[in-house]
Symmetry: C2
Amino acid sequence: MEHSEEIFTILKVHHLRLTKTRKALIGIFFLHETPLSARDILRELCEVHRAVNKTTVYRELERLQKIGIIGTVRLGDRKQYYELAAREHHHHLVCLKCEKVENIMLDEKKLKEEAKRAAAVKNFLTLRHSLEFFGLCKMCN
Amino acid sequence: MEHSEEIFTILKVHHLRLTKTRKALIGIFFLHETPLSARDILRELCEVHRAVNKTTVYRELERLQKIGIIGTVRLGDRKQYYELAAREHHHHLVCLKCEKVENIMLDEKKLKEEAKRAAAVKNFLTLRHSLEFFGLCKMCN
DNA sequence: TGACAAACGCAACTCAGTTGCGTTACGATG
DNA sequence: CATCGTAACGCAACTGAGTTGCGTTTGTCA
Ligand SMILES: [Mn+2]
Ligand SMILES: [Mn+2]
Ligand SMILES: [Zn+2]
Ligand SMILES: [Zn+2]
C-alpha cells in the first residue's frame, strides 16, 4: 500500500474524506491485479472489515472512477468490473469455463493505426476502445 | 429478405417451426445493419406486427443464437445486442453522446498475430474476441 | 383431421445497479 | 477540545434486463 500516499493526496484535492471504508476499499484494489466486481468488493470488505452497505460500495466506486483512481472494464457478463487506473494499459483473457481473468499486454501500435484509418472514413473520433479475449485458460484446456 | 430462404432451411433442420413471430423477427434483422437489443426488437415487432411477449423474444433470440443464425455483441451498457451472424466479421464504433452504432471493418492480421503471441505466454487458447471503439460520431463531434 | 412437440403468454422471480431521505461522522476552524 | 458544515452512510424501495415455471395455443406431419 505504498502507492496509497499519492492517492490520498488526490482524494484531498477533490475534498474526499479519508473514511475507514474508503481506505479499506482502495486497499483491496492493491491486493488484486485483475478486475473486481462491486459484489467482489462488497464481500471482501465485509469479510475483512465491518459490514458495509452495497449502496456505499456503488457510490464509492463511482466517486473513485470520477477522479480517475479506478477505471471500468466489461468482461462479457452483465456486471461492471473495476481496476486501478494507475496500472499500465492492458487487456484481458477471460476463461469461458472457470471464469478466471488474466491481464494481457499487447503492442497496439498496428491496431491503433488501422483503427484510426477505419474510423476516419466515418468521421468518427475514437476516445477509448475495449478489447477482451475469451477462451480457455491454462488449467481448463 | 432473399437470404431468408436458406435460413428457413436451417430452421427446418433444427425442427424449428416457421411461426409468424419467428418469421417477423428474422425479417427485422434484415432491415438493420447494426446490432439490436431485445427491447429494440420487441418494440419493432409490436409496432409492425401484433403484440408479442418479451419472454417470447428472449427465448427466440436464444434459439436463433444457438443454431448460429444470429450472434451477440456487447456495446458497453448492460444490454445484450444481436445481429445476423451471416454478416462479415466486423467491429463497432459507439457514439458516447447520441449512442449511434456504426460497423467498422478492420484488417486484423497484425492484431491476431500479436494476440496469439501474448496469449501463448499464458497458455491461453483464444476462441473469440470482442473489440469495440467508443467516441464521438460524425454528427456529435 | 388428429396428435404431439414446439411455441406462446403470463406472472413471478433474480440480479446488478440506482434513488430519496433521514442519520452519522470527518475534518476544518476557532 | 467544542462546534459546525458537508461528505458519507444505511436503509428501503425502486428500475431494467433477463429468467423460470406452468398451463394454453399452434404448427407440422402422418
Ligand atoms: Mn487497449
Ligand atoms: Mn474482430
Ligand atoms: Zn479456466
Ligand atoms: Zn453521436
